[in-house]
Amino acid sequence: MADIAETTSTRLRPRTSTGTAVALTGALVTTAALWFVAANAADEDRALSMVTRGLAIALPIGLGAFRLNRNPGDRFAKLLVAAGLVFSLTSLAEADGAVPYSIGRALVWVVEPVVVYLLLAFPTGRITTAVERRLVWAVVLLAGLLYLPTALIEEGFPTPNPWASCGEQCPHNALALGSAPEVMDVVRPLREVLSVLLFGAVVVVLWRRTRRVRPMLQHALVPVVAIALGRVVALAAYDVLRATDGQSDATGVIGWLYLFSLPAITVCFAIGLVNQRVFAAGALERLALELGPHANAANLRLAMAEQLDDPELRVVYWLPGDPGRWIDETGWPVKPPQQENGQVVTKVNDGGQPVAAVVHDAALAQDPKFVEAASVYALATLENERLIGRLHGSLRELAQSRARLVAVADEERRRIERDLHDGAQQRLVALRIKLELIAERLQELSPHDAAALRELEDVVETTIEQVRSFARGIYPALLAERGLDEALRALARDCPLPTAVYTEDVERYSHEIEATVYFTVAEALQNATKHARGVTAATIHVRGGERLEFDVHDDGEGFAPETAFTGVGLVNFRDRLEAVGGEASVRSTPNYGTTVSGSIPLEVGT
């Protein structure tokens, strides 16, 4: 699992120091801008101007640096940094000198297209729809046609202006080539109305996008729509107030509010991104709950599709081989995953080798870490399931191999018993018969020799009995021929301990089961005879049915339960029963004897 946990998406490049470098640059630029404002701004507005500009520059660059640190390829982060740098140049508008002041004032007009681009490109850093692209162009054209060129035909920039604290006493326009007040009388209200309309259109476009996109992106967009709306309202209000009474306090306050909306946009971007991550965390949590501990490839795809809110989401798996190939969750070969039809690919690698790939909506690609986390988690769950499956498989194999060992051992016992019966026993029997034959012939001729032969016959007879007893101990012929019931009764008769046998619905079962019960009972009886103290009698109960159950009870002193299953005999007993899928237990109560019980599931046909 460690390998899976370390998996990284190939879409991500290794972490670099880009973020740190950007942050340092941002700090330098912000400091320089603050120093410039501190040195030039009008006394009464200096503090406010410093705070506003400081935030307007530092926040976007800071957020950009933070995101670049996580993902150096983050396009929106780069835009934020660029915007911060552009905003920093507007500090020149605080200059006392006409030239820097004029450049600063002209650059203020560039701020708005940048803001619009940022708003529409959030959070991917790309303008995707034609409407958005046209809007951006419209704002650029507005700035390029109705704002920037007017710097050449106005003696002074419009005042008051929130970007310059000089109020009505500002330096003259150093960029002016002439003066055309009649043109400006038309252009100024026109461009202000157009600006408000275009910014309003941006709000509408953003709002419509918010309603269209997946919940995760919705959570990111809502604060951005809110600030865009606030900003256009502030702009409209400022334009109206400036036209009616440029000197009023209200104009000043709204102006400052409008200026503050610039850093506020960055704050809203940050809130949106945090929202998105909170939603992603929730989605991951739901994914984890939905997948549960036993995921398979099919419900993994469904769970991911649901939680990532992408019904088209597919997960394909790399099947290593020569050559390897991609397969889907049903094991069917599929073409290699690739970016197409608005879908992108997040690959999951394990130690440099592909494991799987998630083909998902491009909208999700804006947060590759999220998709990657979801994929890695989901695959880790799957891997877990596979490992558990493998473990179960191993346990099953182990149980089967144990059962095979027992079966082989039983078969070997039967073979030895047969060999003894067919070989040694028969030879001894024939020997005994032939000795008797010779003894009978010699009886009249040489009674002494006949008697000697009959003594030999006794020796042979004893040997026959010993071999027979030995063979029965190895595997009772009766068990193979007649089954448990009779074999156990014979066992009880041979037992030195008075033993009663009760059987109920006992039929014929497989060799393994019959041998297991027989030898377990034999072992329990032997334990009772040899080791238990105070035993005077024993009983054997065997019941057939759905399970074959048996117990062997003795009336001895018993032993403390904690010593149960410590003897080799008892461990063997449990092992033997487990090998045929059965269970074993030993109950012992001091003064009430010991009961060894076993239960074996019976399948049809055993």
Partner: protein
């Protein structure tokens, strides 16, 4: 001459007791052959190696006494004894076994076999006493 039931010997016409030996063990059949040959009044009429062969041999050879091993591949002695008793109640069936007689006894209906004897006890004396005890009233 052979019969499907087993190895066939000429049926004695002199009133001797015809014995059929049924056992899959060659060693015992050889020993039994010698014992029977050495026992006056008894004649080996045939041998069989399984319960199935014993049934056919009993039909064809009409032995007076059948020595039937309990443990044989295929049909064992216990089942063969029951069938023989049914088919030929006049033939004396004696079960022989390497097991202790009491173990075998529980599995045999009393009228199916006249006696159950340990294999190794087989000999001329046993043959004579068996015939003396059960021969006149077989079954």
């Amino acid at each position: 001459m052979t019969a499907p039931g087993g190895t066939l010997k000429d049926r004695p016409a002199d009133g001797r007791v015809g014995v059929l030996v049924v056992d899959d063990q060659l060693l015992f059949r050889e020993a039994a052959r010698e014992v029977i040959a050495a026992t006056p009044g008894f004649e080996l009429v045939g041998e069989a190696v399984s319960g199935e062969q014993a049934l056919r041999a009993a039909d064809e050879l009409c032995p007076d006494l059948i020595l039937l091993d309990v443990r044989m591949p295929g049909m064992g002695g216990v089942e063969a004894a029951a069938r023989l008793h049914k088919a030929h109640p006049d033939q004396l069936v004696v079960l022989i076994s390497t097991e202790q007689p009491d173990v075998v006894e529980r599995r045999v209906k009393t009228h199916d076999a006249a006696a159950i004897v340990p294999k190794h006890c087989f000999g001329a004396a046993l043959l004579r006493s068996l015939w003396r005890m059960y021969g006149s009233a077989p079954g």
